[in-house]
Amino acid sequence: MLSIVCPFCGPRDETEFRCGGESHIARPGPPDAVTDEAWADYLFYRDNTKGVQFERWVHAYGCGLWFNVARNSVTHEILAVYEMTDPKPHGLVE
């Protein structure tokens, strides 16, 4: 079970959180200008990286904050926790 550092509450067990999947996915728009392919890509296609993965998590059974987590999908090591509006941390992006 992961130990995740909520930016607001501090370290808590994974059971208090919910993972919202891959982060940094831009929502395309306006609807009239979006192709079917671009919309499908936004809805369904994910990197599913073996290695450093950027995810969004919410402290669902805590303060309710959404935040970003950079996590190694092989070792489960959490490399960074950063705000929803922040870009991917330097040094973790290939």
Partner: protein
């Protein structure tokens, strides 16, 4: 000849405190401090169980939790626990245990016929044999013949706890290495948790041989210090079951055996959920048995176990022993046993040549040492009566050259397997070490360090120094938060005492069997057969032969099995590798995993703020989306259906009152609230006037309808959104996610206020008269108070928000008051309604009335493919100016098809027919048929005196008036497609 109690010895037992117990219905006596296993051996019991497949008589092999044979059912009735190991059950007065896999008894077991058939029951015999007429025909027989213990039929009478704990350093194992680690770390000033699965700290120190008395004294002192140390929390009888991510470990503390005296007052077991910054594993090692013909006979035991029984419990496992070992340690064990009073006749050692001082020492003690030899076979069925010894030859055995040696005990030792289970579970890689002939920890994946036996260090000084070093390294990293130093594998010193690679004696004749996995009856022949059948992956071998899949998880068998496979396949053991180590390390009771979350606490159900009032009215409660809600209010002797019909007619004819408090209420405020809700709802929110209400539909990004409800505008920047009763938490969370993750620039706050407000729906033609008596400061007249608007006022002394919205199609008022006023307002409304013969109505009546009006019930009349246009809500998609959640998905080609499943009404040709929910509309499709939709809601309408149904029908809106075939479970009904609104399509009842 059998085991007996020695005249002296036994640190663990108190000879002045005898304890009476029973096993398989027979009375025995042991001592306080005994385990069930030690007391059984001391009582001369040879056979403790029957093997899983062949039902062969089995005795105890080991003294610890690696025991594969001594599996018992403890206690009876609600306090019965199956499949416990006799070696881990502390003896108590009145203990009653029985063997798990024998019928009618362990001594006479009819299942033993399988033993005679064993040449027909090889590995994989399930897959090869039971093809005709089918596995189902054989399964009942196989299941009965191959069972373990019986699950109790009654609810568990015990209490189980969960406890969370955090520490700097968690030390698993209270042997010398663990004690050294715990005391070192605690002395350095960090918080330590030390777990040990026994009642007494010390591990192998309590019984194992060691030639270094100074180190023994030093280690013994550590146990005293650990218990007294204020920075060490010691958990005894606590077995770590799993080592998970981020150094999260689960341990089960066995506080009191379920059936023991005084059980029930305190928890039987406690599941510890431990989070450690650093972990030191000091879990020790398991002695391996040797594989040779009939090595499963009672009286063949691990050498170290026999010594443990002698030293800890003063129990001799037999009178005359032959030792079969490939390592020096077993010689020292033999010497210690001789000192304790057992006779060791012969040591059989497959190693040739000079093996150092141990052989000479044995000879000097008068022991006959047979080097280059193996035990080839065991004589005796219910107990070892002798062994046959011959020269070791890996390829052939000369049966005539075997020599018989009489004995009642065969001590075996094929070396040691470090307990690397937890290390491997934590993600660490294990590697085969040739000098130790064992899998040892290699690269760790977490802040985990191994010390002592589990790291391949077997002598006391090494254990102490490794424990100390591991703790020092852990503390250094706690101080510096430095990178984890990965162990340099090449740097591991070769074992001081090189280990022989011989684990197995050749079989004396073709039909002989040598056991590898005792509990699952897997023999060397099974593994050889699997190899011949080309099972090359160790994971496949495991599943094909069931090696290591018994309740002992292969603790004594896996490495031997891998060695046999390696030899059969002509590769090294390292190349074979290990199977995946998975939690739990030891079987765990379901009670411990469940803890307090059982019965009512398993799924806590929410009560309405007026729960007691509803109960007083005779409500029938059911679980509706996690709320205990009144389904209906049957009168004395009234059926459920009659009650529902009566409630509907009362509401339609006079007035009814509905407890609607679970209705979702989400408060949305902020200067961008209207902009936000325009994006959340399929329709538009920003054009709503203050004081007015509007029906809204919410979709997800796939365009699928996920919720609906009425929303109110309280102020320019303040809305209140109703959701379905089951959808409040989900929708509030969804709004938060959009705000926090996507529209971070919007100034909006979302608060789920569902339980802050109690809500009652007062419906029916007389509802205005009832409310008028209580809400005197509000003008309820049709002219002043319009449908789909709301006002604020006082109802029965409570401040209330009153809305004119209706889910029944009747004139209705939705009254929301602070939850604390709920009971008083409910009672006031019922009292005020008394003169109008008001009827409380339940969920069922509510659902029938909404169906009569054709109002959808999201989740019942919609599914995971339903788009707004399918339920007649297409206008916003065409006309709305701005984007909203799911809009692009609603514009796909598939979403624009005109033959989608549309929400329509169905009217059966026969008035009396209530179409079955789930029945399919059958369309002709060429010569065949296909589903053209399904019935989603269907009721008897007491108002219309006929069955009514709501359905989703392909291109349904264009087919109004068409008669379709509705099929369910062999029956076909004719039904006409109609408008979903069966009652009052012009809304006259609504607005009077």
């Amino acid at each position: 000849m059998s085991g007996f109690r020695l005249a002296e010895g036994g640190d663990a037992i108190e000879r002045e405190r005898p304890v009476a117990f029973s096993f398989n219905g027979r009375a025995y006596s042991g001592y306080e401090g005994d385990t069930l296993a030690s007391a059984l051996i001391a009582s001369g019991v040879d056979i403790v169980g029957r093997s899983f497949k062949y039902h062969r008589p089995r005795g105890l092999l080991a003294a610890g939790n690696e025991e594969p044979n001594g599996i018992v059912q403890l206690g009876d009735g609600a306090r019965s626990t199956p499949n416990l190991k006799a070696t881990t059950i502390p003896l108590y007065e009145g203990l009653a245990a029985s063997s798990v896999n024998a019928w009618p008894s362990v001594d006479v077991d009819f299942g033993a016929v399988n033993n005679a058939l064993k040449r027909f029951l090889p590995a994989g015999f399930y897959y090869k044999t039971f093809f005709w007429p089918g596995w189902e025909a054989f399964e009942p027989f196989i299941r009965r013949a191959a069972g373990l213990g019986r699950a109790p039929h009654e609810p568990d009478a015990d209490v189980y706890d969960h406890q969370h704990a955090h520490c700097d350093v968690l030390v698993v194992g209270g042997g010398p290495a663990g004690l050294a680690a715990a005391v070192t770390a605690a002395d350095a000033g960090v918080d330590v948790v030390l777990t040990d699965d026994r009642a007494t700290l010390g591990g192998a120190l309590l019984w194992d041989t060691d030639e270094n008395p100074e180190a023994r004294a030093q280690a013994a002192a550590l146990a005293t210090r650990a218990v007294a140390h204020d920075r060490i929390r010691v958990l005894k009888r606590a077995t770590v079951l799993g080592h998970y991510d981020h150094n999260f470990l689960a341990a089960c503390e066995r506080i009191k055996p379920s059936a023991s005296p005084g059980a029930g007052a305190a928890p039987a077991e406690r599941l510890w959920r431990l989070r450690a910054r650093e972990v030191v594993l000091a879990t020790g090692a398991i002695e391996r048995p040797m594989a040779f013909a009939n090595n499963d006979r009672p009286g063949v035991m691990l050498a170290s176990a026999v010594l443990e029984y002698a030293r800890r419990y003063g129990v001799a496992c037999g009178r005359r022993a032959v030792v079969f070992a490939n390592n020096d340690h077993a010689y020292r064990t033999a010497f210690a046993l001789m000192d304790a009073g057992l006779e060791v006749a012969t040591i059989v050692d497959p190693r040739e040549g000079d093996i150092g001082g141990v052989a000479a020492a044995a000879s000097a003690r008068g022991v006959d040492v047979r080097q280059g030899s193996v035990i080839s076979n065991v004589i005796g069925r219910a107990r070892v009566r002798g062994v046959e010894v011959g020269r070791f030859d890996a390829t052939a055995t000369d049966e005539k050259a075997l020599q018989r040696i009489d004995c009642d005990l065969a001590l075996v030792s094929a070396g040691w397997s470090p307990r690397v289970h937890l290390f491997a579970q934590s993600g660490g890689r294990v590697a085969f070490d040739d000098s130790r002939q064992a899998f040892v920890p290699d690269a760790p994946a977490q802040a985990v360090r191994s010390a002592g036996g589990c790291n391949g260090a077997y002598d006391l000084l090494s254990c102490l120094s490794e424990g100390t070093a591991a703790a020092e390294a852990a503390c250094a990293r706690l101080r510096d938060s430095g990178a984890l130093a990965h162990r340099d594998v090449a740097g591991r010193a070769p074992s001081a005492e090189a280990q022989s690679p011989i684990f197995r004696a050749p079989l004396p004749h073709a039909s002989a069997k040598a056991w590898v996995d005792f509990q699952n009856d897997v023999t060397t022949s099974d593994i050889d057969l699997a190899a011949r059948e080309n099972y090359r992956s160790v994971e496949h071998l495991k599943r094909y032969t069931t090696l290591g899949m018994a309740t002992d998880q292969g603790k004594t068998s896996n490495v031997n099995g891998f060695a046999v496979m390696a030899a059969s396949c002509g590769v090294s053991i390292g190349e074979v590798g290990t199977t995946k180590f998975r939690p739990p390390y030891e079987p765990v009771t379901l009670g411990a995993l469940a803890g307090r979350r059982r019965d009512a606490a398993y799924h806590p159900i929410r009560h309405l703020p007026t729960h007691d009032d509803q109960a007083a009215l005779g409500a029938t409660f059911e679980d509706w989306g996690g709320w205990a809600r009144p389904t209906c209010y049957p009168n004395e002797g009234e059926s459920r259906a009659a009650a529902i019909n009566r409630e509907i007619l009362a509401t339609r004819g006079r007035v009814g009152l509905f407890e609607a408090s679970p209705l979702g209420k989400i408060d949305v405020r902020g200067k961008d609230a209207a902009v936000f809700l325009d994006r959340v709802f399929v329709n538009t929110a920003s054009t709503l006037k203050i004081g007015r209400a509007r029906y809204g539909v919410m979709a997800n990004e796939h365009g699928v309808v996920v919720d609906d409800g009425v929303f109110f505008r309280l102020a320019e920047d303040h809305f209140l959104c109703s959701t379905t009763s089951g959808g409040a938490d989900r929708m509030a969370a969804s709004m938060e996610e959009w705000l926090q993750c996507e529209w971070t620039d919007l100034d909006v706050f979302v608060t789920n206020v569902t339980t802050c407000w109690a809500t009652f729906a007062l419906a029916g033609p007389l509802s205005r008269d009832v409310l008028g008596k209580l809400a005197r400061d509000v003008d309820l007249s049709r002219q002043a108070f319009h449908h789909m608007s709301f006002t604020e006022g006082r109802v029965a002394d409570a401040s209330a928000r009153i809305a004119r919205v209706s889910f029944t199609g009747e004139l209705a008022f939705e009254i929301s008051v602070p939850a604390r006023s709920a009971g008083a307002v409910w009672r006031a409304l019922m009292e005020a309604g008394g003169e109008f013969d008001i009827a409380p109505y339940g969920i069922e009546a509510n659902l029938v009335m909404r169906a009569e009006k054709g109002f959808i019930h999201v989740g019942a009349d919609t599914d995971g493919l339903t788009l707004p246009q399918d339920i007649g809500f297409e206008r916003p998609i065409k006309t709305k100016k701005s984007d909203f959640i799911g809009r692009r998905s609603m514009m796909r080609l598939d979403a624009r098809r005109n033959d989608r499943l549309h929400f329509v009404g169905l009217k059966a040709a026969d008035n009396a027919t209530v179409l079955p929910v789930g029945a399919h509309i059958v369309d002709a499709d060429g010569n065949g048929r296909r589903s053209g939709g399904y019935v989603s809601s269907s009721y008897w309408s007491p108002t219309l005196q006929c069955g009514i149904a709501l359905a989703r029908v392909r291109a349904g809106r264009a087919r109004t008036g068409e008669t379709v075939a509705v099929f369910d479970d062999g029956r076909t009904f004719a039904a006409e497609i109609v408008s979903p609104c069966f009652l009052d399509p012009d809304g006259e009842r609504l607005d009077r």
